[in-house]
Symmetry: C2
Subunit: 144 residues, 2 copies
DNA sequence: TATTGTTATACTCTATAACTATA
DNA sequence: TATAGTTATAGAGTATAACAATA
């Protein structure tokens, strides 16, 4: 009787689970909390705002939260002096959220933390890194 | 004057950011909430408990939370009838947390949701899936 | 009427500190 | 004295519903 391997061959499902484990194994939340006292969602907002001001609605859509959550979240960032609101020039209902200088600094520091690859990836064979990059490019264009 | 590409070559950092975007783009939290009314952390606990009972301490370590958070979390799962506590046979300070039948069912359904690969991955060339699986295996053994 | 932002409210998730019971 | 679990408390994060102002 031949022994069969316990692990299945590489199916999309198995690869998906492994991908998730690898990515979420790195605890970015703790790193961001320690460095900036902000969660990943707040840092994500700051980084998006680095490209220019956004309305509350746009922020909510960009980070997949509801409008009330955006209001509360921006309230907190504003209380910390990282963003500020101005009236929208074309529509008095809307408000534009801008980064302050402190917010721009926090966005840059947060981006640096989030861009720091884990050692396992840094130590990976450069050919594998290149292959991985190519496959990811194909995945990203594979919306369908 | 030659035009240089805007994107940098594939560095570990760029690959890391792309990996993260791909993985977290799928909103598992909403899917789990809709199907089971549980968050990813709770489902993760249920799935781990499917391998056998664990003490509160073991659960806390396994999902990287503090002991009080484990107590509160298990309280909630117990109130929903998904787990139950029994005294530890060897040590009266400890308690063992077991899945109930309902908990085992929820763990299975949660595992199915978490294992469901996104369309982009399902549609990926099987050779790329295999390559990706190999690279992930090398990454996982690359702890250093 | 529809849209933008807000307030009120509630629940989940997690952390720190202090406590109880047991080893 | 050290460990396992708990309680109390606090804050971040997000959701739903109801509301005000503006389009």
């Amino acid at each position: 009787m031949s022994t069969r391997p316990v692990t299945l061959p590489d199916t999309p499902s198995r690869v998906w689970v492994a991908l998730h484990e690898f990515v979420t194994g790195e605890d970015r939340r703790r790193a961001l909390r320690a460095a900036l006292d902000l969660g990943p969602g707040k840092v994500e907002v700051l980084i998006k705002l680095a490209d220019g001001p956004m309305t509350l609605r746009e922020i909510a859509r960009a980070v997949a939260i509801d409008p009330p959550a955006a209001t509360v979240g921006i309230d907190m960032l504003e209380a910390r002096g990282l963003v500020h609101r101005t009236p929208h020039p074309d529509d008095n209902r809307r408000k534009l959220v801008h980064l302050t200088d402190a917010g721009r600094d926090a966005a840059a520091r947060g981006h640096a933390i989030l861009s720091e690859p884990p050692p396992a990836l840094t130590n990976l064979d450069p050919d594998d890194v290149a292959r991985l990059g190519e496959i990811l490019t194909r995945l990203q264009t594979n919306t369908r």
